[in-house]
Symmetry: C2
Subunit: 276 residues, 2 copies
């Protein structure tokens, strides 16, 4: 690997490393979701450690996070030789599959057809709660009594006023409610961090895995915190679409390594390991 490539990698990691402290279990979920979501796809403790220690995560923190993920039913581990191999559980795979289309969606939302559900009874409100808990995009809550959902109105929906709707005007209060200030700033910060990186040089599988994990992790924390809505819902200056372009330009230039490549890789030299 050229010194230029090593330098580019180090500065990319430095630029993208999460300022606000990263949750290690969440980084591991980002990695597994990106590279080991299939049934039977697992990674050894040693290989996982090689992939994510360059993000400034200590091996001990990885052990603690894996313990927590097992306890919460997200992963399961199998002893193999001197170490363990970690897999998503069926529950973990299902949760991961639920958000994968949203995380890896390359196109801006242009849904033209919506429907509105308006509740007026306690059981109607419970149904709205259930629908909005199900996924952030299946029902966008406008207020306690009202939800907006993509597509045409369902055939049967007891206890609700149901309207097929086209959005004519979006007010600022709704924009700020759907895209809170912290999300807005977080997205602008990621966009600014991605801006100077440019096209990556050729990188080995381990560095690609490390950088993909970091990019997916950062993007996931933006994209899963707001609903999938057309541009007219976006607050002024919203960097989400510009961010999306940059994220997928990078991921496309950093092809997914195989798990075998990661198992066989040598650890990165120390100089690469500490974020700036």
């Amino acid at each position: 690997m050229s010194t230029d490539a090593q330098d580019w990698f180090s500065s990319a990691i430095g630029a993208l490393a999460d300022q606000q402290g990263q949750r290690v279990w969440s980084v591991i979920i980002s990695f597994l979701g990106d590279m080991a979501q299939g049934e039977g796809a697992g990674i050894s403790s040693a290989a996982l450690t090689r992939v994510i220690t360059p993000l400034g995560i200590k091996p001990e923190a990885i052990r603690v996070a894996l313990h927590r993920l097992r306890k919460d039913g997200w992963t399961e581990s199998e002893r193999r030789g001197r170490g363990s191999v970690h897999f998503l559980t069926p529950h973990g795979r299902a949760q991961s599959a639920l958000v994968t289309p949203r995380i890896y969606c390359r196109t801006a939302c242009t849904t033209p057809e919506w429907h509105v559900l308006i509740a007026g009874t306690p059981s109607g409100l419970e149904l709205l709660d259930a629908l909005s808990d199900q996924s952030q995009d299946s029902l966008i809550r406008v207020n306690r009594h009202t939800g907006l959902a993509p597509g045409p109105a369902p055939g049967q929906m007891a206890e609700m006023l149901v309207l097929d709707a086209n959005v004519a005007e979006v007010p600022d209060w709704l924009r700020s409610q759907l895209y809170p200030q912290t999300l807005h700033h977080g997205c602008a910060a990621l966009d600014a961090a991605l801006q100077p990186l440019g096209a990556p040089p050729a990188l080995d599988p381990l560095r690609r895995a490390c950088l993909r994990t970091l990019i997916v992790h950062r993007w996931r924390r933006i994209v899963l915190r707001h609903p999938y809505l057309p541009e007219r819902f976006h607050p002024e200056g919203w960097a989400g679409e510009s961010c999306r372009q940059k994220v997928f330009a990078l991921l496309d230039a950093l092809p997914q390594p195989s798990l075998t490549e990661l198992e066989q890789a040598d650890p990165l030299p120390m100089m690469d390991v500490t974020p700036h």
Copy 2:
């Protein structure tokens, strides 16, 4: 006039006379709106008394009601000879004109196109209040934050989520909210009272005026207490459309007399004057 016609008139008055006690000022407004809404159209105290005493209203109550209507700016009076002539004021005419299309609308609502306004700020709520106060049909309040209005969405509507909408499903709670039990029963009672009357015989101008006033008055109290909405919004057993048919069949068979005819008419004989 035949005895049959006199009998028919007496039983029609008896059947339609308001059980719950009628507000005299409101009966007078019904009369003026029906027969003296034009600029310069007025009626003398004597003629008005001839028209509405058959409804069981005492001349003294008419004097009190006319005093109240003047005080509230609905009517003005002019001395002429030994008596007074009463007119709607410009304000009274405007108020009357506002509800005339709704009272005299012969067709059920079939509006296919609606729009929804959803407020999320105090000034948005104030705007909703202002729109729903303006008239019962310009904005149908679904809940505090939400209004449904006929026609396509207006071009500009600050601080509101505005949606063009087609109604897909109407829940029972909204039906009961828009058509409360007392209105539902009142409408069924009027429908039942109209049912046995059949086609009226030929009646003189005074009896026609008296009966038109009573019919318009009863219908007005039904029709102005619910919004103009398509059948899917009606509660089960809603008699409004059946009532509407009967009201206009009767009004068509009781042609509007001229004010001159009413001024020149002799009072009805006493036997007609007391409701059963």
